[in-house]
């Protein structure tokens, strides 16, 4: 196994992208999960299907769709670029790709957790005069922390592992958009570079295992607090 500077760059970038993706996606996924769990509205099935889409489509397709939506020639992409937000060929685009690819996983975990919350507890909070937002922040949210953690760690892991949509959307620019999976993939396409690939696979594993262990520890603390031990 050989570790070169490019590998470290890729690791750093992957960590960066995965952290951003997780931080940005969690609130959004929570909102969507809440809507799907608790509201009935016209187009709910469509929203639900849309959330799942990145799971179903080959990642390249998602990448192309992203390019057509957020590319520098697409209206949306131009609008964003005019306010200073560049996505295509930029690490922020990798964040977007990671968010979208991880979204179904995050939403599902959070939705399951929200559906498991006893609405009677929320009713109790309401009768104590807590407005709906406070009920959410102070009752629902703390109770679904395990689901949020599960969603976050899945989103993080997926962000660390995402390849197809990322390389299609933001290409593979070393130090800028070359994430660990892109680097691993590149190494695997070169005869005899398996050693470099293996080293980077290990890095990705360490990153993800770290996130998993951390989330499990947090979840355990929450569970113990509720059990009172």
């Amino acid at each position: 196994m050989t570790v070169d500077a490019a590998a470290w760059d890729a690791l750093r970038l992957s960590l960066w992208v995965a952290c951003w993706a997780t931080i940005l996606a969690v609130p959004l996924a929570l909102w969507v999960a809440w809507i799907l769990a608790r509201r009935d509205f016209w187009g709910k099935t469509a929203l639900n299907a849309a959330v799942h889409l990145p799971l179903v489509l080959p990642p390249v397709v998602t990448g192309y769709l992203l390019l057509s939506l957020f590319g520098r020639t697409a209206p949306l992409g131009q609008a964003l670029e005019s306010i200073g937000l560049r996505l295509a060929f930029h690490w922020s685009g990798a964040v977007l790709a990671a968010i979208i690819m991880g979204f179904p996983l995050m939403v599902r975990a959070m939705r399951l957790a929200i559906e498991a919350v006893d609405p009677k507890l929320e009713e109790a909070a309401l009768t104590l005069g807590a407005p709906r937002r406070d009920v959410f922040m102070r009752v629902t949210l703390p109770l679904i922390v395990p689901g949020i953690l599960a969603g976050a760690v899945m989103g993080f892991a997926k962000a660390v592992g995402e390849f197809g949509a990322t390389i299609t959307f933001v290409a593979n620019i070393p130090g800028q958009t070359q994430t660990l999976p892109s680097a691993i993939w590149s190494a695997l396409q070169i005869p005899g570079a398996e050693g470099r690939a293996a080293a980077m696979v290990l890095m990705a594993c360490v990153l993800a295992v770290g996130a998993i262990v951390l989330s499990e520890l947090l979840a355990k603390r929450v569970a113990q607090r509720i059990a009172g031990t």
Binding site: V60, Y64, L67, S68, G71, R72, T73, A88, F89, I167, T168, A171, N172, I173, S182, W185, S186, A187, L188, Q189, I190, P191, G192, A193
Partner: protein, 222 residues
């Protein structure tokens, strides 16, 4: 089984399917990137013939395949072109690439991982443009993705195979790349079974060469 199974690099897809149609036995293709195919052959893929876009990978196959190929041959060659969106004016030489890019990027296959990207890098290095351009690339996981970037105007310029450029209406060649500037682009094929041996000859037939030529491939140098 009567069928002939061909594992081939994806960039040959259009041409190989046409060639197969004129063969007596039905032919089944499995297209993927060259590296993937090479490893599949090593893992015992049920291929009669393998066609790659990279001589390096063919060497690797020869070393790693469960059984040594019965015969190998280069069935085609290719050339690189610099493309821009349709309607763009031609470049007079390589030094203009940088200015034409402005703040855009030069799309091409990955410099090491994608054969087309490797040839492009060799050419840019031989013309002394590499150091100038290497931070302004948009490297992709296959040539088609690079082509799509130019077609969608995400990148002003791209370096792709002439065959791809010819098939995509939304792009236009703006600079032809001399074959001398990089190692020769060859598509090595290998027959792994007796049935494959026969099909390999078919691939080398005149009819096949015509089809390859129509798709823009050059003659395979031995």
């Amino acid at each position: 089984d009567q069928r002939v199974t061909v594992f081939a690099a994806a960039s040959l897809q259009g041409a190989l399917e046409e060639i197969a149609a004129s063969y007596i036995t039905p032919v089944t293709h499995s297209f993927a990137g060259s590296g993937t195919i090479a490893r599949q052959i090593a893992a015992g893929a049920p291929a009669d013939v393998v066609v790659l876009a990279s001589p390096d990978w063919m060497d690797w196959v020869s070393d790693n395949a469960p059984e040594t190929p019965l015969k190998t041959a280069n069935i085609a060659g290719n050339t690189l072109v610099v493309v821009a969106q349709a309607g763009a004016s031609p470049l007079s030489d390589v030094t203009q690439i940088a200015s034409r890019l402005a703040d855009g990027r030069l799309a091409m296959g990955h410099r090491d991982a994608v054969p087309a990207g490797r040839y492009a890098r060799e050419w840019l290095q031989s013309t002394g443009q590499w150091t100038l351009l290497q931070d302004r690339l948009a490297e992709t996981d296959n040539v088609r993705a690079a082509l799509a970037l130019v077609a969608k105007a995400e990148a002003p310029l791209g370096i792709v195979y002439a065959t791809d450029a010819q098939a995509e209406a939304r792009v236009e060649d703006v600079l032809t790349i001399p074959t001398a500037g990089h190692s020769p682009i060859r598509y090595p094929a290998a027959a792994l079974t007796p049935a494959g041996l026969d099909y390999l000859s078919h691939l080398q037939s005149d009819a096949a060469r015509d089809i390859l030529a129509r798709h823009g491939f050059s003659k395979g140098t031995p």
